[in-house]
């Protein structure tokens, strides 16, 4: 077998390695919609919704707190799905999505914790108590932190993607278990229950404010994730340019 293969061949660049950049134009429009929805949300939560008789005006934190909590959970779900899809087809764009969603999710979870603690202090008199929902949110925050830390400390992209995916899947399965376990644990120790779970049915106006909050926060989530993906894509493109 005598063959001289010419050294110059059509270069093959692996496009799978570079996360695609979301359309900046569309992102801008989403940003506008987000800004509008935030304004509407501020109006409904401060002026449209009635003031709570018992808690007073501080109750209004509830809207941004709960809306952010839902989105934090949604973000986690996106991380979960993105992780699974990545492990199946190894396309970096799903890893990028999971990574962006986790970072934004960490942000939302931080807001949930902070607003929750302030509300707790105002309403229950304590900044913190180890009840199921709060504990689960804290664990969620720690898991997001671990996920983001892994992405920081594993430089090689394929390895980073794999490790993140495994963590993303295990963490998602863990959170409901945390919630249930703390809940069951507390039924064994019926201490002075400071927190009443659930509560009276929300009057319609408050429900409206909450719904508006959900829409607004969802838009914020989508907007931030798109912008974060753009950052990842640019970073990838720069690294590619550096090596050409």
């Amino acid at each position: 077998m005598t063959q001289q293969v010419p050294a110059t061949q059509a270069p093959r660049t692996s496009s799978r390695m570079v996360a695609p950049e979301p359309s900046a134009q569309l992102t801008k429009w989403i940003g506008v919609a987000t800004a509008v929805s935030i304004l509407v949300f501020i109006y409904t939560s401060f002026f449209f919704a009635p003031e709570d008789e018992v808690q007073g005006s501080v109750q209004r934190i509830f809207y941004v707190h709960v809306a952010s909590a839902w989105i934090a959970a949604l973000a986690f779900g996106v991380v979960f799905v993105g992780s699974i899809i990545y492990l199946v087809n190894r396309s970096m764009k799903w890893d990028a999505l999971a990574g962006a969603s986790a970072e934004v999710g960490l942000l939302f979870t931080t807001v949930v914790l902070v607003t929750g603690m302030l509300w707790g202090k105002a309403v229950w008199g304590v900044y913190w108590t180890w009840e199921p929902r709060l504990t689960s949110v804290l664990v969620l925050w720690l898991l997001y932190l671990a996920y983001v830390a892994i992405r920081m400390y594993v430089p090689e992209p394929t390895q980073k993607a794999r490790f993140s995916a495994v963590l993303g899947i295990v963490a998602f399965l863990d959170v409901p278990i945390v919630y249930l376990s703390v809940k069951w644990w507390r039924t064994l120790h019926p201490e002075q229950v400071i927190v009443t779970e659930g509560g009276p049915q929300l009057p319609a106006a408050m429900l409206v404010a909450l719904m508006v909050g959900l829409v607004a926060m969802t838009l914020v989530f989508v907007y931030f994730v798109r912008k974060r993906l753009a950052v990842t894509s640019l970073e990838d493109q720069i690294k590619r340019e550096a090596v050409k």
Binding site: V54, Q55, G56, S57, V58, R60, I61, V64, H65, S68, V104, L107, T110, V111, V114, T115, L118, W119, K121, A122, V123, W124, G125, V126, I194, T196, V220, F224, K227, R228, A230, V231, L234, E235, Q237, I238, E241, A242
Partner: protein
């Protein structure tokens, strides 16, 4: 609901929303800054 000690409700409300604005807004600013810096770097690299 038991309010153990009176706190300044409106103050806490303001702090709460204020922190939310700071956190979300701060992240937005961070993303913007980072994006424009990266775009600048990329264009200058491509120009070479």
């Amino acid at each position: 609901m038991n309010v153990v000690e009176e706190v300044n409700g409106p103050l806490f409300l303001a702090i709460g929303y204020g922190l939310a604005v700071v956190l979300y807004g701060g992240y937005w600013l961070f993303l913007n800054r980072r994006t424009s810096k990266l775009r600048a770097t990329l264009t200058s690299m491509k120009a070479k």
